[in-house]
């Protein structure tokens, strides 16, 4: 028998008092350790979906069930489109923030921060200030912060959308490497079909507002992915399948 899903959405819907229905009732599961992407046009309620899963806003209908150890804080990590760092804190202090809030003693915090910075390749920048870093480096700090937290569930809200393509490709590979290493369950929201196919085991397609599930794809690609994949016919075929479905959904 398969392990119970880590994330389980049952008829999850959300309406806002002023702007009306943002998310039509949605039902899907995410298995532990799975990398799922949610693709959709802007304004389709992708970010709302992540906020609902994170428990930051209450649902209007249905429910979110997370199979996390109850009472334990810090099991969910969140990365936004902007790096969302504390500008008054050094890189090191930014990465240790969740640990300090969770009340971890300093002797446990320091090695975890050092390790997280090592993994994103920013060990030399521990004492730097966020304003001194490039956009890509700031996003790496944001990833390191989530990494240091050792979450079971990682929610990413278009984390690389504001970056240039070269940096985005590099960070895609970094993210995949870390996911394999850490065994996170990932829900990745993006508007890029190419990015979603490259990264994930499963792609969920959403319709324009109010967002509903408009398709589900499991790209038939090797588990180990690298830059070479971006030119492979199998990858491009998978991208085309998702794009065609997306075009059909948008035309409807």
């Amino acid at each position: 028998m398969a392990a119970p899903p880590l994330v389980s959405l049952a008829g999850l819907g959300k309406s806002f008092p002023r702007s009306g229905e943002a998310l039509a009732p949605l039902t899907f599961d995410v298995a532990p350790g799975e990398f799922v992407s949610v693709v959709g046009p802007s304004g389709c309620g992708k970010s709302t979906l992540l906020r609902l899963i994170a428990g930051l806003i209450p649902p209007s209908a249905g429910s979110v069930r997370l199979d996390l150890r109850p009472g334990l804080r810090g099991q969910t990590g969140f990365v936004f489109q902007d790096a969302t760092l504390l500008p008054w804190a050094t890189v090191e202090r930014n990465v240790s923030l969740p640990l300090r809030i969770l009340g971890l003693p300093g002797r446990e915090t320091a090695p975890r921060v050092a390790e997280a910075l090592e993994l994103v390749g920013l060990s030399d920048f521990a004492r730097a200030w966020p304003r001194e870093l490039s956009g890509g480096m700031r996003m790496r700090v944001s990833l390191a912060r989530a990494l240091a937290q050792k979450p079971r569930l990682l929610l990413l809200d278009e984390p690389f959308a504001a970056l240039d393509e070269i940096t985005r490709f590099r960070l895609n590979d970094d993210l995949l490497r870390l996911w394999r290493r850490e065994g996170w369950t990932v829900v990745f929201v993006t508007h890029s079909v190419f990015e979603s196919v490259y990264l994930s085991q499963r792609v969920l397609l959403m319709s324009p507002r109010p967002g509903r599930l408009a398709g589900e794809f499991r790209p038939d690609l090797p588990a180990q992915r690298s830059a070479a994949l971006r030119g492979e016919p199998a990858y491009l075929a998978a991208c085309r399948a998702v794009s065609e479905r997306l075009a059909a959904v948008l035309a409807a």
Binding site: R51, A54, G55, L56, R73, G74, T76, F78, F80, D82, T84, L86, P87, W88, A89, L97, P98, R100, I101, L102, W129, P130, R131, Q149
Partner: protein, 262 residues
């Protein structure tokens, strides 16, 4: 010091020197009596002659101003933290802070002086009433201006109210607080002077405001100018000191304190 910085200091200095020379020349040429308009040299003489009494008064006024400013920073800041705890507290209390702020200090100073027996304390209360509002309103705004995504992260981490305050809201509010403090610095001096005008201290412990009144009554206009000069210098010094403090505290991260990109 770079040439450009030197020039930036020299330019206003030169304008000042020219103005002083013109002033002195005008007074001498038109033979303006010193009780109408004393020349800069007469003012300098008065300053040298009465340096001791004026200096003591300056210290007195600075004491009132400094303590009022400290009180504004502490009480204004604490009150802002209290107001930021809930919209209800803010809605209940903030209007009264506004009432206190908009009522002209000249009109409440006599009451304060009746209620507070000790003159020094009465002046302090007056100066504080004038000075605390910018700190309060700015800090309240700053505490509410934290990056909404960071606020969400803190909720996700399960941060307590105090953790959010200490790690997020207070640092976010710091630039606002410091901007408020700079306004309060000037206002505290105004409050200290206005209160003394109304209270009309006298005796051993007097501030510069009383020296100005006293010199006016005695037609010692050069001495009046000397007292004015000290007051203006004190105001400038307070402003420079608070700006430097603000710059130093924000030097690593806030746009207001960063060097311009070249």
């Amino acid at each position: 010091m770079s040439g450009e910085r030197l020039a930036r200091l020299a330019a206003p200095g030169l304008v000042g020197a020219l103005l002083l020379c013109g002033w002195e020349a005008l007074v001498r040429w038109r033979q303006v009596p010193p009780y109408v308009l004393p020349g800069p040299l007469a003012v300098a003489r008065a300053l040298a002659q009465d340096g001791a009494s004026l200096g003591a008064s300056l210290v007195f006024t600075l004491e009132v101003t400094g303590l009022a400013l400290l009180g504004s920073a502490a009480l204004g800041g604490l009150l802002a933290v209290l107001l930021a705890q809930s919209r209800w507290i803010e809605h209940s209390l903030f209007p009264y802070a506004v009432v206190l702020q908009v009522t002209p200090i000249v009109s409440i100073a006599p009451l304060i002086i009746i209620w507070v027996q000790d003159t020094f304390l009465a002046l302090l209360v007056c100066a504080w009433v004038v000075a605390f509002f910018p700190v309060l309103s700015n800090t309240t705004l700053g505490l509410r201006s934290a990056d909404p995504h960071l606020v969400e992260l803190f909720r996700l981490y399960g941060a307590t109210r105090w953790q959010t305050l200490a790690h997020l809201q207070l640092p976010s509010a710091l630039p606002y607080f410091l901007a408020g403090l700079r306004i309060s610095g000037g206002l505290a001096l105004v409050g200290a002077v206005v209160a003394e005008f109304v209270a009309g201290t006298g005796g051993a412990e007097t501030g510069l405001a009383f020296r100005i009144l006293e010199s006016g009554y005695r037609l010692q206009i050069p001495r009046m100018f000397a007292a004015l000069l000290l007051l203006a210098s004190a105001g400038v010094a307070i402003h420079v000191a608070l700006s430097a403090l603000s710059h130093w505290l924000l030097r690593h991260w806030h746009a207001s304190a960063l060097p311009p990109e070249r």
